[in-house]
Amino acid sequence: MLLISCPWCGPRDETEYHYGGQAHVPYPETPADLTDEQWAEYVFYRDNPKGHFAERWMHSLGCRRWFNVLRDTVSYDVLAVYRLDEPRPELPQAGGNR
C-alpha cells in the first residue's frame, strides 16, 4: 500500500485516491490540424519509464482535488507531491517524462 501525502489533507492510504495517468500531457494547441496519427499519439500513447515518473492522482475520498505525484516506478517511492499549479520539482536523475 502506498502512503501518499495529499497537498491539502496530508498522508493518507492509497485506497483513498484514484490514479489519473501521466502528468504534464498538454492538450494540442490546434486540435483541428492534427492527423489521426497525432491524435492517437496524444490520446493513447504514454511514457512507461523505469525510474522517476510524474503522474496525476486524485484524492477522491477526501478533498476531491487533483494533484501530481513524482513516483519511482521501480521502488514505488513517492518522491514528491505537488499541486497542479506548481512546476515539477527538480530531482537528481529525473527522467521518463515528455
Binding site: C6, W8, C9, G10, R12, D13, T15, E16, L61, G62, C63, R64, R65
Partner: protein, 213 residues
C-alpha cells in the same frame, strides 16, 4: 404496502417533512438492539434529517467574509478543522469547499447563505438528503472504528472538534469527533448507510462479551 403520497399527507395536514423516511428507518430495531452497556460499552444512534448545506466559495474572497459573518463562525482553512457557532457547525471538505451542518431548518439556512454569496462565484446547495448521520459513542467506540478506518484516531492525532473525509470499511464517510467520551458522528451517503450501519453493528458485537486476553 402502499407508499404515502403527498396528497394523503396534505389531507392530514402534514407537509413533506412528515412524509420523509430516514435511510435507516428499517434498521431502527437492529440498531437499538446492538447497544452494548458497561465498561466496554458502545452505542449506535441515527440522527436523521440533519440540515446539511454544501458551500463552495473562494476562501480569500469578500463573499467568504460575508458568509462567515452570516454564520457567525470562520470557515476553517485546514483539513480536519471545524468551527461552530449557534446551531451551525462548519466542516472542511476541500480548499474551497465546506459542509455546513445545522440544527436550523434547511431552506432557511440555504436562503441565508445564498444571499450572503450573492453574485460571487461559488455555490450553496441544500444536500440534507445526501447523507445521514450515525452517532457512535462509548468507551469502545474508537476500537470499533479502528477495525476499518485507515486514519490514526488516537487522541494524540485526532481530537474532539476534528472532522475528516475518509473511509470506514469500504464506505466513504465524513468522520467527526464530537467529544472525548468518545463520540463520533459518521456521515455516509444515504445509499451506503444501510451497509455501514450493518458493518458497525457487526463490529460492535464482540464488546458484549468479556475481553479475550
Amino acid at each position: 404496502m402502499a407508499e404515502p403520497t403527498f396528497d394523503q399527507g396534505a389531507g392530514a395536514g402534514a407537509g413533506p417533512a412528515a412524509l420523509r423516511r430516514s435511510p435507516l428507518a428499517h434498521l431502527e430495531e437492529l440498531i437499538r438492539a446492538a447497544t452494548v452497556t458497561g465498561a466496554r460499552g458502545v452505542t449506535l444512534t441515527e440522527w436523521p434529517f440533519l440540515t446539511m448545506v454544501n458551500l463552495r466559495v473562494a476562501p480569500a474572497s469578500e463573499a467568504a467574509a460575508r458568509i462567515e459573518k452570516t454564520l457567525g463562525a470562520p470557515l476553517p482553512r485546514q483539513c480536519g478543522h471545524t468551527s461552530a457557532a449557534g446551531p451551525h457547525t462548519v466542516c472542511w471538505l476541500g480548499p474551497d469547499e465546506w459542509l455546513v451542518l445545522s440544527q436550523a431548518e434547511s431552506t432557511a439556512v440555504t436562503a441565508e447563505l445564498r444571499e450572503a454569496l450573492a453574485e460571487a462565484p461559488g455555490s450553496v446547495v441544500d444536500v440534507s438528503a445526501n447523507r445521514t448521520t450515525l452517532e457512535l459513542s462509548g468507551p469502545s467506540a474508537r476500537q470499533v472504528l479502528e477495525k476499518g478506518c485507515p486514519l490514526d484516531l488516537h487522541p494524540r492525532s485526532f481530537a474532539p472538534g476534528r472532522a475528516v473525509s475518509t473511509t470506514v470499511g469500504p464506505v466513504a464517510v465524513l468522520l467527526w469527533q464530537v467529544d472525548d467520551r468518545p463520540t463520533y458522528r459518521l456521515f455516509p451517503r444515504s445509499s451506503f448507510a444501510d451497509y455501514l450501519a450493518r458493518w458497525l453493528i457487526d463490529a460492535m458485537r464482540e464488546y458484549r462479551g468479556p475481553e479475550v486476553p
